[in-house]
Each structure stands twice: as structure tokens, then as C-alpha cells.
């Protein structure tokens, strides 16, 4: 992948009011916090190519965070996020406007990202070169120390707990949304996340007995 950076990437990375919002002057600031998923869906439904950059800038941190905390590997997380957005673009081009308007964009993109992540895990397991860590975690940072204790112990969770814990407690999704992403009943994902939190407390107590609180 070449490193040339298209114009769209040079504009503001976060608030997507930077990307072609019609708002002018002072109203822009209000709009930026006010822009909802619904507006984005509407724009995607009407003009996919025009609005896709806004989708990327709005959701890239969520998708990347999920991929990073699920996989524990920055390079893998970037690949997963990129692939998820490309699949999303391809699917949006195929969906009719009505279907696009009805999408829960964030949960939908995270569903795709989870699918990509699981495929990566499967192919990583087939590649003898990349030794998976505990419970199929891809690989920790090449030669670098993990961000900190929290990311390490989250990474040590079994996948079925790690995925909902990240969605709920790192990204703040509702259990309703998580149930949709995992295609499991809400009660099941709640229980899995709760088990994950219990396990985090236990491992924290083992590693550093004086740090015993896991704040959600």
C-alpha cells in the first residue's frame, strides 16, 4: 500500500462536520456535536461516494479500537479496520436507499469488523509463522511493550468474553447492540461480559494486588 495521502484524509480527522457539512459559521460547532447517525445514513443513501469519507472519519476510531483490543496487534487492527470499511462500501453500493436508511451504522460496521477479525484469527491459526498467544490472540506488538496493564489483561480474556467486554466497556455500546453484533441473545452477551469483568478483576488482583478495581 503506497503512503500517498488523498485530500480527504488531510482534513480534520475527528468531527465529521469538517467533511462537507453545509453548516456555516457558528452553527457548525453546534452541528458537529449534533450530527447523528441518522444524518449520515441519509447522506450515504443519497450519495455513497460523497458521504463515505464522513462515514470513515466518524467511525474509524471505534472500528480501529475494537480491532486493536480484540487482536492486540496494531498492524492487524489497521488491516481489519481497512478491510471492514472496504466491505462496508461494497455492501452499501449494493443496498437500496431504504436499507441504508435503516442501518445501525456503528453496530453494522462493528459486525463486519468482527467477521474480518474472526477470519484473520482463522487464517493466522493456519499460518505456522505467527504463533498465537493465549486463546488465539494474534500477536502482541512486534518487539514493543503492550500499551499498559489494562490492554494486556483484556487481551488475555477468552475471545467470547473479550469481544463483548470491548464492545460494552471500551466502546460503550448497549447490550441490545452487542446482541445484534454477536447474533446471540441479550442475556447471553450480558453474562459473557460479566464473566469477562470478573476475570479481569481476578487477573488484576494476581498481577498487582494493590490495584484491584476494574472500572467500567
Amino acid at each position: 500500500m503506497a503512503s500517498s495521502k488523498p485530500a480527504a484524509a488531510r482534513t480534520g480527522r475527528r468531527g465529521f462536520a469538517h467533511h462537507g457539512s453545509d453548516a456555516t459559521g457558528r452553527d457548525a460547532a453546534v452541528l458537529e456535536t449534533d450530527v447523528s447517525e441518522e444524518t449520515l445514513q441519509e447522506r450515504l443513501a443519497e450519495d455513497l461516494d460523497g458521504a463515505f469519507a464522513a462515514l470513515v472519519s466518524t467511525l474509524q476510531d471505534d472500528v480501529y479500537t475494537a480491532a486493536l483490543r480484540w487482536s492486540g496487534n496494531r498492524a492487524a487492527a489497521e488491516d481489519i479496520a481497512q478491510e471492514a470499511f472496504l466491505r462496508a462500501y461494497s455492501a452499501l453500493g449494493r443496498y437500496g436507499a431504504e436499507r441504508v436508511r435503516e442501518l445501525h451504522l456503528r453496530a453494522w460496521l462493528l459486525t463486519i469488523a468482527l467477521n474480518v477479525f474472526r477470519n484473520e484469527l482463522r487464517s493466522a491459526a493456519r499460518r505456522p509463522a505467527t504463533e498465537p498467544l493465549a486463546d488465539g490472540v494474534l500477536v502482541v506488538e512486534d518487539g514493543r511493550a503492550p500499551d499498559d496493564l489494562a490492554s494486556t489483561i483484556v487481551l488475555a480474556l477468552p475471545e467470547e468474553q473479550r469481544v463483548p467486554v470491548v464492545l460494552r466497556h471500551v466502546l460503550g455500546l448497549s447490550y441490545d447492540e452487542i446482541a445484534e453484533i454477536l447474533a446471540r441473545p441479550e442475556g447471553t452477551v450480558k453474562a459473557q461480559a460479566a464473566r469477562g469483568i470478573r476475570r479481569l478483576r481476578e487477573s488484576l488482583a494476581e498481577v498487582e494486588p494493590e490495584r484491584t478495581e476494574v472500572r467500567r
Binding site: A9, Y64, E78, A81, Q82, R87, S90, G93
Partner: protein, 254 residues
């Protein structure tokens, strides 16, 4: 600090990510669903030519997943297929189409270009391809090159079979290979029977020419004049020369 905040695990996407995504989106390939010789196909294409073909049976999502994962570009539905595609599918001759084979090795491209020359209704062996492209020992590598064919059906890797007559593997699954050959008029069971009995070549005792069994010329030989050979050496020993169309063996100076 004696606790950990899971919310602090939120991360910012690296700056180049958005640019890379948007570039890959601008480079998206077009694709159509088109009826093939055995069921519907998805065919992706771009300015370079046809880039990817897959059976449409598993739906568009599976195709997108495969395409994005393999090529790192996005897909967008097109209104019309690339020029010449429908005709190539109908005739089983893809030689006039342009292909996007970037990302393949020179060897893989040579293998696929060679497979394009095999006429509809005929088959050749992996060893035949290896010999024709000047790499007679690379028989297994020919097999994997055909297995990675990004544009099956249009580049007819299904017309390449094992020299022992077994139909062999196929990018779209062995049963599909058999069906495609069957649709093209190849007598699959006949080839297998012949190969199982050790026959590799068929000749005519009037022309003293020998062919691969599915060669158009071989199929015109009447039962009365038909002779079979287990090897090139056997044929040569009887004074037969290889056919110039199917090139069953290296032509030798007489």
C-alpha cells in the same frame, strides 16, 4: 492510581488509515452477475481488464468478502458487463478478453495464458502446461498456479486435469470442474476409463499421428483406425509423430 479504566483503552485510528481506505474505494472494481455455462457468476473488472470471477451461489456478501480480502480493493455494482464477456462465456474462448493479472507472478501468468489456449471440449494435463511454458519439471507449481486462478471459467483452468486421468482439484470445487467439462462436451468418464487403463495418447494408423485423447483431431479417428499408446516413447517407436494441434509431446526432428 489503583484501578484501571476500560474506557481509556479507546484508541485513535492511525492517520493514514482513512486515506488508504478512501484510495482503495476510489480504485474499486466494478462487478456484474452474469450467467455462466454452469450457473450464475460474479465477474469483477477494472481498467486493466477482468480481475476476479467466482460462482454466485453463495451470494454477493461472500463475493465481497473474498474480493476485498484477496485484492484489498472495494467493489461496486456495474450496470453492464465488460465488452466481450458474454460472448467469451458462450463460446468458451476467453482469448480476446483483457485480464487484470497484477499481483500474480510471471510464472502464474504464463500458466494462465497457456490454459487460455486449450479449446473448449478438450483437456490437457498439468505436465502439458509445464512443458509448453518451458518449465517441464514445475508440474506441481502449475497445479498451484491454476488453483490461484483469480478468473476461473473465463480462463479455463478447469480444462487442465491430472495426467493419470483423474479430474483433479479446482478453484471452484472438483464437482464444478466435472460439470463444466461435461457441459463443454468432454466425456469425463471416458477420459478416466482410458487413463485408468494406462492409455495416454490416441493415434490413427492411417495418418501415423498421435494426439491427447480429447484432441479435436483424435476424436475424428474411426474406431477401425484408432490405436492407443501408453507413452510418447511407445508412439515414437511405432513411427508416430505428435499432432501439431494438441502437441501431446515435444516435436522431434525425424
Amino acid at each position: 492510581m489503583n484501578d484501571i479504566e476500560l474506557k481509556e483503552l479507546r484508541a485513535e485510528a492511525p492517520t493514514p488509515l482513512a486515506g488508504r481506505v478512501l484510495r482503495a474505494v476510489r480504485e474499486a472494481d466494478d462487478y456484474v452477475e452474469i450467467s455462466g455455462p454452469r450457473g450464475s457468476l460474479y465477474v469483477a473488472f477494472n481498467d486493466e481488464g477482468i480481475s476476479c470471477v467466482d460462482a454466485a451461489g453463495r451470494g454477493p456478501e461472500a463475493f465481497e468478502e473474498y474480493f476485498v480480502g484477496r485484492f484489498g480493493r472495494a467493489l461496486r455494482p456495474a450496470d453492464a458487463p465488460p465488452r466481450g464477456l458474454a460472448e467469451a462465456l458462450a463460446t468458451g474462448d476467453g482469448r480476446k478478453l483483457r485480464y487484470d493479472l497484477r499481483g500474480l507472478t510471471e510464472f502464474e501468468v504464463a500458466v494462465l495464458r497457456k490454459a487460455l489456449e486449450i479449446p473448449k471440449g478438450e483437456v490437457r494435463s498439468y505436465g502439458w502446461i509445464a512443458r509448453e511454458i518451458g518449465r517441464p519439471k514445475a508440474v506441481r507449481a502449475v497445479g498451484s498456479a491454476l488453483g490461484h486462478n483469480p478468473v476461473p471459467v473465463v480462463i479455463p483452468c478447469h480444462r487442465v486435469v491430472r495426467s493419470d486421468g483423474m479430474i483433479g482439484n479446482y478453484a471452484l470445487g472438483a464437482p464444478m470442474k466435472r460439470e463444466l467439462l461435461d457441459t463443454e462436451g468432454v466425456d469425463v468418464a471416458g477420459i478416466e476409463r482410458l487413463a485408468a487403463s494406462g492409455v495416454r495418447f490416441v493415434g490413427s494408423d492411417t495418418t501415423r499421428i498421435f494426439c491427447v485423447p480429447t484432441c479435436h483431431d483424435a476424436r475424428r479417428v474411426t474406431e477401425r483406425h484408432r490405436v492407443t499408446f501408453r507413452s510418447e516413447r511407445d508412439a515414437a517407436a511405432e513411427g508416430f509423430r505428435p499432432c501439431k494441434h494438441c502437441r501431446p509431446a515435444e516435436a522431434r526432428p525425424a
